[in-house]
Amino acid sequence: MTFQKDNPVLTVDGASKSFGAVRALNGLSFVLAAGECVGLVGHNGAGKSTLVGIMNGGTRPDTGTIRIEGNEGTGRYSVAVARKHGVRCVFQELSLCPNLTVTENARIAHASIRGFAWRRRAERVVRSKLDEIFPDHGIDCGQSVGMLGIAQRQMVEIAMAFSESDGPARIVILDEPTSSLDASIARQMLAYIRKFVAAGGSVVLISHILNEILTTADRIVVMKDGSVVANGPSSGFTLDSLVGAMGSVVRPRDAAAPPRDRTDTKPILSRRGSDSAPEFRAYAGEIVGLAGLGGHGQTETLVELFRGFGGDWKARTNIRAAFVAGDRHVDGNLPMWSILRNISITLLTDLTRAGIVRERNERAIAQSWRERIGIRTDSLDNPILSLSGGNQQKVLFSRALATRAPIVLMDDPMRGVDIGTKQEVYSLLRAEADQGRTFVWYSTEIDEICQCDRVYVFREGRIVEELAGDDIREDRVLAASFSTEAA
């Protein structure tokens, strides 16, 4: 099914991109025409961010081409080329300088504003756009961005993307632009998108609020596993058909243990939800999944649970919880160390007598875990960074599993891990759970969520749904992850 307008401004043709073992884009083609707004939807790992990266020039595809109108045959596509041809992006992360005022940020973004009275001109550029998109925005352009609220910052980012600098903005990519805006301000932005598109501009809109997509976009592209699985005018989709298109054929769930009756047992871990959000509970021997789109509060919840056990001042002799990091480089690896030391760090208190680490025991335990979990290396003394990503992740698993901790918290640890490793780890987790260990598992992958006994789906920082047993299905998770309420 193809649907296309006549005058394409941006064409991505047959783009593939792999990050290590993971194929993020799979020969994808995407065309953006002048004067249209395309809604881009898909679950975690569908390849949306990679596609955005390719369109703004930050990511280079392994194969395939990208063409932008006005740049035919003039060399490689890059961030500079994209900017020059009016491609603008609004990301979820803050891309402004918090110490500078709104006006000064406009100066940073638009190098051409300089010389005499630059301040007045910079302010005019950003203020006129703010007034146009968000009437009554109440933002003081002389205020530093750090002093603004999160919604106001987002509004400034959006205004900056649409504002005119060296040239007009022609293609604006908005990645979850409304995530921190309230409904009425979000409506103002969506209305402006329509106006912008009517004047000949092009917009790519990514949002987890499907209603926004259905009402604002001319055309909707649904992605899954690095490919486009559906592409057509918005009028051809409904909330249900969109959710359906994002999922795959419903597979029978691997028969895990039947859900047990927990009414009379005490949870090993619990946390009160705010307002109407369901309470989080985990019982001994259970694998509890945290699902939902990435960045909706799952990691924060895990860190909070972990920090709840204390231990910043005094070492715990009897470890209650261990943590498996997902972002290895930020909160997992100790990069200067060997594999051995990376495995043993959490376990160290158990291996120490009178302050001295018993290295023989340390090595024996690390060795047994190396064999059990299959870390591919010829020596435990090799540096951790000599391993492939998947094997580094196995080291982090061993670090947690080698302890006696009854609770293991996992922060999307399978990101970027090959399928073989995944299968090995799944069976290991199940075996450990059967022996009474509790796992709290945040995962962005449906397959992994389906391995869990019970699942909490997160949206906008809170739990919105609890699923158990046969209810743990892709369509249920998707429906809860995306806001499908009528606006």
Partner: protein, 314 residues
């Protein structure tokens, strides 16, 4: 051959080679007459930089931005107060040692309290506290020059089997530090915190406890060095710690400890301390001015840190 290669792969070997080279050049220049005297002097003076350097080494290993600038003030305060308390009497030596220890502990606690509670970079926290410590030392004992107890004065200036007693003491401190660093859980924790504080926390390392203990250790070692220095030089002086501010950091950097944290190295401190002293005495033998000496020290520090930087920006 392989053992030679592993030897040369050690980060501390270079500071020792440099020290040996400078030693040889000086000996050749003076016609070999002063070999024993030069070695003894080198070991004696290096002992002070080794003791404060080890404290500073653990602090720097805690990661970027961690450095203790209150070392000189701590040395001065400990030296003056301990000498006054001991009042030149051999019977009060134990008391003096106890006071030295308490001063070190108190300063360490204050330093980490400032870092933790005011959430300011360690460099400013230890700087502000060093102002107050310095004032305390000045007001406690202005102008008075009390002689150290004769037993301590004798101990710090004497040699045993041809080697200065201070060098034995520095060796004892170094061995203890080496064991804690290489064999103990404390060294693992310090290194983990220095490599990636967030990862260390999530791996169950008691981050705050480790950092506090390290600042305490550094202050205690500085206090001890202050006491020894004042006994060695026959009395406390208000500026006696001054040169150890830069020296303590220089020996750590030259000794092969990672400036960005995560990796520490005890033997290198010895090589670097001996090297720094020998460079000074070599230049003195050549009759070079103090200015050349400073210039060279600075150039060496910068050259070492540029050579040791392994992660150029891409």
């Amino acid at each position: 051959m392989t053992s030679l290669r592993t030897l040369f792969a050690k980060p501390w070997i270079w500071s020792f080679l440099a020290a040996a080279g400078v030693w040889l050049v000086t000996i050749v220049f003076t016609g070999g007459a002063s070999a024993a005297g030069l070695s003894q002097a080198a070991l004696t003076f290096a002992a002070f930089s080794i003791i404060v350097g080890i404290g500073q080494m653990f602090v720097i290993t805690l990661g970027p931005g961690n450095v203790d600038l209150s070392i000189p003030a701590t040395m001065t305060l400990a030296g003056t107060v301990a000498l006054k308390i001991m009042d030149s009497s051999n019977g009060l030596i134990l008391m003096g040692l106890l006071v030295t220890l308490l001063i070190g502990l108190a300063i360490g606690i204050i330093n980490y309290a400032l870092i933790k509670l005011l959430r300011i970079p360690p460099i400013i926290a230890t700087l502000s506290s060093s102002f107050i410590i310095q004032s305390a030392a000045i007001s406690y004992n202005r102008g008075l020059r009390i002689k150290p107890p004769s037993a301590l004065a004798e101990f710090t200036t004497a040699t045993t089997l041809g080697i200065p007693n201070l060098a034995y003491l520095a060796l004892a401190v170094s061995v203890a530090a080496w064991v804690a660093l290489e064999k103990g859980i404390y060294g693992r924790w310090v290194s983990a915190v220095g490599q990636n504080m967030r990862a260390a926390r999530m791996a169950g390392v008691p981050v705050d406890g480790v950092r506090a203990a390290t600042y305490l250790l550094c202050a205690v070692l500085a206090a001890l060095a202050g006491l020894l220095l004042s006994c060695f030089s026959g009395g406390a002086a208000l500026n006696m710690g001054a040169e150890y501010l830069l020296t303590s950091i220089a020996v750590v950097v030259i000794g092969g400890t990672a400036v960005a944290g995560g990796f520490a190295n005890v033997p290198g401190i010895w090589g670097a301390s001996l090297f720094l002293f020998l460079v000074v005495s070599m230049l003195n033998t050549y009759g070079a001015a103090a200015g050349i000496r400073l210039l060279l020290t600075g150039t060496i520090i910068i050259a070492v840190i540029i050579a040791a930087s392994r992660r150029p920006r891409t």
